[in-house]
Symmetry: C2
């Protein structure tokens, strides 16, 4: 890995090469890299973009620092600020950055890949020093094309099949498996899984597989973040509970679904005998106060935020990063 880096540094094409191939001045190249696209024609921009691609040119951090002046702003893109995970993550990022003279700036994709694309476009056109990014989808297909150049970036809470960016993750599979196992020991044989759309996001898939590795009899209720009908979902859960004779565990793959659906089931008395119980990923004290005795899985998003912030500052300082994937283990308590 390191040998490779040294080699690629020797061969690194520089701004002059790009300028020559595109037939423009280096000033124009630096404008392009700065995102000052207003000052050039679309034709010129396209020519530069082509030249960059042909030469596989990546401005070094140093080159970027020369052409851009640091704004001390780090963009944080979260998939949905309605999730407590996201606000806690942002608090963690923000407090670490603040202590180092940077400011964290939050963008909300609102669970929409279209909006996410627009945000990435805006960020890469303006003077942000780096991005900490929780994508709406693990494929990143949607936005790969929007990331013109090597803006420092850290991916959080999504497991991607790439080493292009460092990733900060929870041990989703293991912690979901461990929690399920402890309920299996108490005789639970059936799981109702409450989740957002499961296929598009690694986090959810891993959690589901962790559950399935322990208890095979599972029902999934997929909830659309934009358009769900609370009463209908509740009805679905109750139907499954009444149909199935086994001891059942209701497993919320994220806190929001726990907070939305567990209290009404509680007040209807479903958890009074031990035939039905509940668990889920939950990071705030509110989930705890709703169900004081529940065993919950805590991801520590604040710490995940702090680690992501530390990583992005390391990249900015061109320090070596030891691990491309940092796993922050969740706690079950």
């Amino acid at each position: 890995m390191e040998a490779n880096m040294v080699e690629s540094r020797k061969k690194r094409t520089n701004m002059k090469d790009v300028a020559q191939l595109a037939g423009v001045s280096t000033t124009t190249i630096s404008r392009f890299l700065n995102g000052d696209l207003n000052k050039m024609s679309t034709k010129t921009a396209a020519r530069i973009s082509d030249a960059i691609e042909k030469l596989n040119y990546t401005p070094s951090a140093a080159a970027r620092q020369m052409v851009t002046h640091s704004s001390k702003m780090i963009a944080v893109i979260v998939a949905n600020i309605d999730d407590y995970f996201s606000t806690e993550l942002f608090k963690g990022i923000s407090s670490f950055l603040e202590a180092n003279g940077y400011i964290a700036v939050l963008f909300d994709s609102n669970a929409s890949s279209e909006k996410e694309k627009g945000i990435i476009k805006t960020i890469t056109s303006y003077n942000f020093d780096g991005i900490i990014f929780q994508p709406t989808s693990s494929s990143m297909e949607n936005i790969n094309s929007e990331i013109h150049f090597e803006i420092p970036m850290v991916i959080v809470d999504r497991n991607l099949d790439t080493t292009r960016w460092p990733q900060v993750l929870t041990d989703n599979y293991q912690s979901a498996r461990k929690a399920t196992l402890s309920f299996k020991k108490e005789g639970y044989e059936h799981v109702i899984v409450l989740t957002s759309k499961i296929d598009s996001v690694s986090t959810r898939r891993e959690r589901y597989l962790g559950i399935r590795s322990t208890i095979q009899d599972t029902d999934i209720i997929e909830i659309s973040e934009e358009t769900y009908n609370r009463k209908m979902i509740l009805k679905q859960i109750e139907n499954l509970l009444n149909k199935n004779g086994k001891k059942t565990l209701i497993f919320a793959l994220k806190e929001r679904w726990f907070l939305e659906f567990i209290p009404p089931l509680l007040s209807k008395g479903y958890f009074q005998n031990n035939k039905i119980t509940t668990t889920g990923f939950a990071d705030t004290s509110i989930a705890r106060t709703i169900s004081p005795k529940a065993k919950l899985i805590n991801q520590n998003p604040f710490l995940m935020g702090g680690i992501s912030a530390e990583l992005i500052l390391k990249i900015l300082k061109r320090e070596k990063i030891k691990s491309k994937k940092v796993i922050v283990p969740a706690k079950i308590k």
Copy 2:
């Protein structure tokens, strides 16, 4: 008011006047207004700042558009994203702006006036088109000096003694009064008020005065947002409940305190007879699921966000704004 505006427009000093007095070029002035302070000495910046103050120069929206190119980014500063009010407000702003080709960008003061100052400094130095601002304190003393020039700004959720910026507010006094009145009719004679530091923020003062206008026998529990100890606060509430023989209403001045402290009191059985009851300002469905029968005050932060976004776009388009204070009535239900 309008006559005044026409008059001041005739007399408006322009960029040339400022350049002349400061002894620099208009390009330098426009750099200053753009916040490109890195490209000039501190001395020059100070001279320009003095000249602007002496001439009472305010760049018109048109002048600003000439010197800055629009970034299509609106900065939203909230007092604390841990409050559901703030995230809902942001969702409202964001969806309205998005529909109009703008992007909302969130900054979190984290209940710290020091941090707020740093954020204002950053925003006014960079290329944001406007600010929607929920200050940590109603005095604004802290940050008045940081706002060099007339960046379009809308204040939300704080009632300020100024007409410099439009304000979007709830009818805090009236809605707190109305809610308290309905409980007084049911025989409640004593109120325990759960609030963050009450003196610094208009919203809280108004709500408290609304309560006091109806029931005089009140106890206030002030909770520090940064350092509160849950158990201690709970103990305080319980002591007050046990000491006072009257029928008591626990009134949470914001949702976070409702969610933190009502569930544990619920599970301890405090609300089982009707001697003790609860209400509060609460905007999410979670408060409702915790206490399905509680009468709660809903501010509609999403709508307040939408209105703030509409106002900032009007200012950007130099449209006339009818009312300097927009009151969005809260609903009690």
